[in-house]
């Protein structure tokens, strides 16, 4: 019982990070019908930017942790947003209206380029960060097994839930959100209503990249170790989460993320750590066989 509860806590934390990244996949897919394979690498860039910012702030003597984290968050999200905008501008916009596979291949190229850039610029070794938010509290103890909830896990959950709340509000209640949903349904008609579709798509990438950078910061703080390759792994998992939840659906992305996180945690806890990815992807396959649009996905609206 205690062990299961611990795995539940670990799974939710992991799932939250996947969910944050998955939102970026789902949004971009929703608006231009393309899987942005470079998104996972923007997450990795976000983690490195966070590490750079924290190191820099440390050298400047800003060691008050909440302030340092806040500044890091702004820095990483801001720069990653620039990355997101640039990637869309350079690699995808020129290919819009081209055949469907072209931007997909361009995305894979962009992903490899970002990975190699980080490898060359930051080196191939793992970078470590000492624990900034230590401690936590014991929930209860059973037969000598202590169920722990760390402060870091609470921070991850609170930040993710807050960002998703803000984001849901943005998409459902604001004019930008309405413009995004309109682009999703009929880009040409949206432009005839005077909306700059390119700007709207650019902003979608900017927001997705900023969320990925936040996920990168949380990942760095939680695991304390990053390398140039983390984007691939997390990216594939988050993409899986988006598909599992129903690609195009925001709550679906989070639920998919949580599902993947929980499957991994419980599989690692009760079966074998080595096969946790096999378990996660097997569930994906089973879900897609029986629910091709994912858990919360809607059947594609016929576009006329």
């Amino acid at each position: 019982m205690a062990y299961a509860l611990q795995q539940l806590i670990n799974g939710i934390t992991l799932g939250m990070i996947y969910g944050l990244i998955a939102v970026g996949y789902t949004m971009v897919y929703g608006i231009i019908g393309m899987i942005n394979f470079a998104h996972g690498d923007v997450f990795m860039i976000g983690a490195f930017l966070s590490l750079i910012a924290l190191t820099g702030l440390g050298m400047l003597g800003i060691t008050y942790v909440p302030l340092a984290l806040f500044l890091t968050l702004i820095f990483a999200a801001g720069i990653a947003a620039l990355y997101g905008w640039t990637i869309e501008r350079v690699a995808y916009r020129p290919l819009r209206g081209s055949f469907r596979l072209a931007p997909l291949i361009s995305a894979i190229g962009m992903s490899i380029a970002l990975q190699n850039f980080a490898q060359v610029a930051q080196g191939a070794r793992d970078k470590n960060l000492p624990e900034l938010i230590p401690g936590g509290f014991k929930i209860f103890e059973e037969n000598g097994f202590v169920v722990q909830l760390s402060w870091m896990q609470i921070v991850i959950t609170v930040v993710t839930v807050a960002l998703l709340g803000l984001f849901t509000w943005l998409v459902t209640k604001t004019s930008l959100g309405r413009a995004m949903r309109a682009c999703e349904q009929d880009m040409k008609m949206t432009s005839l209503l005077g909306i700059d579709v390119n700007r709207t798509i650019g902003l979608t990438f900017v927001i997705g990249a900023a969320l990925a950078a936040v996920a990168g910061l949380l990942f760095l703080l939680y695991y304390g170790s990053i390398n140039f390759y983390i984007g691939f792994n997390a990216g594939v998992k988050a993409f899986t989460a988006a598909v599992l939840g129903g690609v195009g659906s925001l709550p679906g992305a989070v639920i998919g993320g949580l599902a993947i996180g929980l499957i991994e945690a419980f599989w690692s806890g009760y079966a074998s750590v080595e096969y946790k990815d096999v378990a996660a992807f097997s569930v994906l396959i089973v879900v897609l066989i029986f629910m091709p649009t994912g858990l919360l996905g809607r059947a594609d609206v016929e576009k006329v």
Partner: protein, 273 residues
């Protein structure tokens, strides 16, 4: 005679070897309902697509005369700027509402540029700053005004795709009007409407004209065209055939021949009746 809003001058559109529109010239005047008629394949929709930025014309000019004196060349301008700057709005032959969004949201999308004029304002709105709430309220007010005029105020929160066909047509017109156009281009708005609905449509179009927005209309329903138009332009095989008042057009031999392929006074009388 009222001022000229839009001059189309020797507009030509070629698709490979096909000459869809060949040197068509006409004018749309402020305060008029101008109808563009002609047999199927005459190039009417192509002319619309050139005016609204869907196509980049192969030749010719489309000039928007603005009240402050500045003329705008529309040929080759991106669609969203044509709506933003030249204030041209359009609807399509096949309905293109945002079916998954509510009726009210459809009208709000059309006012995006007023509610969120630039990225900085949008950012402020995220943090609850700026006059976002005020602009949003004004946009809702305008949307409700138009919903009221097209008789859809009760269905504001339903998904647009669930409305019956006639209501969707009216909603499309309301959405176009929410962009504050100076010219409203309608591609076969009466298609598929029953007689009562098409009468309501005629009344709506005339009220829009009386409010000072020019209407440019493609329509096959000659009853509607002859009843409400101030000015009719006839196209056939991509060339301008005639240009005049409805009475002049009814009597025009070329028009009659184009529609019937022969000159038979009785059939003509039936068609233009």
């Amino acid at each position: 005679m009222a001022e000229v809003l839009l001059s189309v001058d020797r507009l030509t559109m070629r698709f490979g070897g096909l000459l869809a529109v060949n040197a068509v010239s006409f004018e749309v005047r402020a305060g008029d309902i101008t109808a563009l008629i002609g047999p199927n394949g005459a190039g009417k929709t192509t002319v619309f697509n050139c005016i609204t930025g869907f196509y980049k014309p192969t030749g010719g000019r489309i000039i928007m005369h603005r009240p402050n004196g500045g003329d705008l060349e529309l040929a080759g301008m991106p669609g969203f700027l044509i709506n933003q700057r030249a204030k041209v709005a359009r609807t399509f032959q096949n309905i293109r509402l945002f079916a998954g969004m509510t009726v009210l949201e459809n009208l709000m999308v059309a006012q995006h540029n007023t509610v969120m004029p630039n990225v900085a304002r949008g950012l402020l709105a995220v943090f609850g700053l700026g006059n976002f709430r005020h602009l949003e309220a004004a946009a809702i007010e305008k949307a409700r005004h138009w919903l009221d005029r097209v008789g859809l105020i009760e269905r504001a929160d339903e998904p647009a795709g669930s409305l019956p066909y006639g209501a969707q047509r009216r909603l499309e017109i309301a959405r176009a009007m929410c962009t504050d156009p100076r010219i409203l281009c309608l591609d076969e708005p009466a298609a598929g409407l029953n007689p009562r609905e098409s009468d309501e449509l005629s009344a709506l179009l005339m009220s829009i004209r009386d409010d000072g927005c020019a209407v440019l209309l493609i329509e096959h329903d000659m009853g509607v065209v002859m009843r409400i138009s101030d000015h009719v332009i006839v196209l056939d095989h991509g060339v301008g055939l005639a240009d005049g008042t409805p009475t002049e057009i009814k009597a025009n031999k070329h028009v009659i021949a184009a529609y019937l392929g022969e000159e038979d006074p009785e059939d003509i009388a039936e068609i233009v009746a």
